[in-house]
């Protein structure tokens, strides 16, 4: 109960703080909306933007080189759109980041049950608490995505603009039109809802069986939980892959990559494991988890280390294959990231690979809580930047900055996340009592 009070208090504190900041965020947006006069003065980069428009496949502008005034107008409209996109994207990045933590933890939880892991059952309630954020979090992400195409002015997904599939229109885009059988708002929303329903149903029943097992006489709940975990993992890998195309890859509707689903998965998986470690260390420091020892921490830290390297492997595989063959239609993705996002793009590799590699390699360091916390914070920040790098170049281009909209959105969702997670942690005892591997897990020794 005390823990709940701490968690609730902390959650309210941070989300309250950030609500105010979100107000300034909106004011900021209004300020930018009115500030376009200054941008008109920037006539020089018009050709720049013009080139970019071409890269976006907007062939209508190809011959407008001599129409300098037109190009200038195009440029201002382009920048105006980018600036208007920024708070949307900032909100979307933060919402997705926290949703993916919960989803990554859910996948990890299902794997632990399906693999009948003997070390992790003492952490199951922590994982169940974190996955409580999945349902609200995923609905928020989907709501922002759909709202950006209905309430907003197609601020995140340009394929949501009905003009691009209208052959009569000035904005007509043949490539997007060709994909409109998949990329249309109705079907997008239905897919999203199906995925969220699947994940939430698994989460609901796994939690239900887990709590029922506490007082059960036999292992029937455990067996049910095992079966639905195996089924969920099959559903998850399909739905996660499609989710990553829908929710992230389609911000660049002209670009595609086959290992993108795995790449997003690695990012969410390592963030989720890191959050398990952080929440566990926090609860342990408050003496709520006396059955968790440094051997459990060591195992979680090993997962953080290994999946960080797995993420790097996928990141590099995706980057190197595209860099090597340098096919214009797909390489623009990395060209924009290298030109306009050099620091975040390369900085995240340092944070997500070099730091965990060097910090978590030593077996002794993996057992020291503050060390794991430091490494975990770097990993989490690195994966926020990872999501930032996936979304922002397609929506705001070179107008990016990690300023008030971004930080406020992160604080808002961090507060909501902490509130939901710690509230859920108060709903059940923190040790799975009747779980068949509980004893083994309590005595776990590396």
């Amino acid at each position: 109960m005390l823990l709940g009070a701490i968690g609730v208090g902390y959650g309210f504190f941070t989300s309250h703080l950030s609500f105010e900041e979100v107000e300034t965020l909106l004011a900021e947006e209004a300020h930018h909306g009115g500030g376009h006069g200054e941008d008109v003065a920037h006539a020089a980069p018009a050709h720049d933007a013009h080139a970019k428009e071409n890269a976006h496949g907007d062939t209508a502008h190809a011959k407008s080189g001599e129409h300098h005034v037109d190009a200038h107008k195009e440029h201002v409209e382009h920048v105006q759109h980018q600036i208007a996109n920024r708070p949307w994207s900032a909100l979307y990045v933060a919402a997705f980041f926290f949703m993916m933590i919960a989803l990554g933890v859910l996948a990890f939880y299902a794997i632990q049950i399906a693999a009948q892991a003997g070390w992790s059952p003492v952490l199951f309630r922590v994982m169940e608490g974190i996955t409580a954020y999945l349902l609200p979090g995923a609905l928020i992400v989907l709501a922002i995505a759909v709202a950006s195409g209905t309430i907003g002015h197609y601020n995140i997904f340009m394929w949501m603009n009905p003009e691009v599939t209208n052959p009569e229109s000035h904005h007509y885009d043949k490539l997007i039109d060709g994909k409109s059988g998949w990329l249309n708002i109705g079907w997008f929303a239905v897919r999203g809802l199906v995925f969220i329903a699947g994940w939430s149903l698994y989460r609901h029943f796994a939690r239900k069986f887990s709590i029922a097992q506490d007082t059960a006489e036999d292992n029937s709940n455990f067996k049910k939980s095992f079966r639905i975990s195996a089924a969920f993992l099959v559903f998850f890998i399909y739905s996660e892959s499609i989710m990553s195309w829908d929710w992230i890859m389609s911000v660049d509707p002209h670009w595609f990559s086959t290992l993108f689903g795995w790449y997003v998965f690695a990012s969410m998986f390592v963030s989720g494991i890191t959050v398990i470690a952080l929440v566990t260390i926090y609860l342990k420091s408050k003496n709520y988890l006396e059955f968790v020892n440094e051997n459990h921490l060591h195992d979680v830290a090993k997962f953080m280390f290994a999946i960080s390297i797995f993420w790097t492997y996928l990141w590099f595989s995706q980057f190197m294959l595209i860099w090597y063959s340098n096919i214009p239609e797909e390489v623009t993705y990395f060209v924009t990231r290298f030109q306009d996002y050099q620091l975040p793009f390369l900085g995240m590799v340092v944070m997500n690979f070099v730091f965990p590699l060097l910090l978590l390699m030593n077996a002794e360091y993996k057992r020291i809580p503050w060390f794991v916390v430091m490494a975990g914070l770097v990993i989490l920040f690195g994966h926020y930047v990872d999501i930032f790098n996936m979304i922002m170049p397609a929506t705001v281009g070179d107008r990016w900055f990690i300023g008030i909209p971004e930080i406020a959105s992160v604080l808002l969702f961090a507060g909501l996340f902490i509130f939901v997670v710690f509230t859920a942690l108060t709903k059940a005892p923190l040790l799975v009592k009747g779980y068949p591997f509980r004893k083994e897990s309590e005595d776990f020794h590396y």
């Binding site: 590099f316 980057f319 190197m320 860099w323 090597y324 340098n326 390699m361 077996a363």
Partner: protein, 176 residues
Amino acid sequence: MEASKVIHAIYTDDDVLMSAVKKVKAERFHIEEIYTPFPVHGLDKAMGLAPTRIAITAFIYGLIGLTVATVMMNFIMIEDWPQNIGGKPSFSYIENMPAFVPIMFELTVFFSAHLMVLTFYLRSRMWPFKNAENPDPRTTDDHFLMEIAVDGNEKELEELLAGTGAVEINLVDKAH
């Protein structure tokens, strides 16, 4: 020169061996060596052996491998003959680095693994045609043997070992 004498206490169970080791350590006798047919989990801790440093050597070997790969490819591909091969930028190492990463990775692993194995062989004195140092062939099958040096205290030690569940206690002259 008188040959030094050792006691060979033979056990048939690893749990009995573990408790015997703890008892002998508690009586402050020095255990020369223990021969087992398979790894006994926790035996090194019970004997108070220092932890291995082989992981540290492996890390250093990996760094050497990374350096070798980098220096080699920088010399060959960038400095010595910077050809244009399929439009890959060979002006500096960093520009063409993604193409070199697979080799850098593999050489790091190669050096790390092989040099670590060689280090292990050298440190544990293992090589082909080496004479086996096995005091009792049964320890390769199902017996455990604890070797303790004696220094005129055979009686005391034999009594202690008999109390730890040893199935056989032999006083052996160890010719040096």
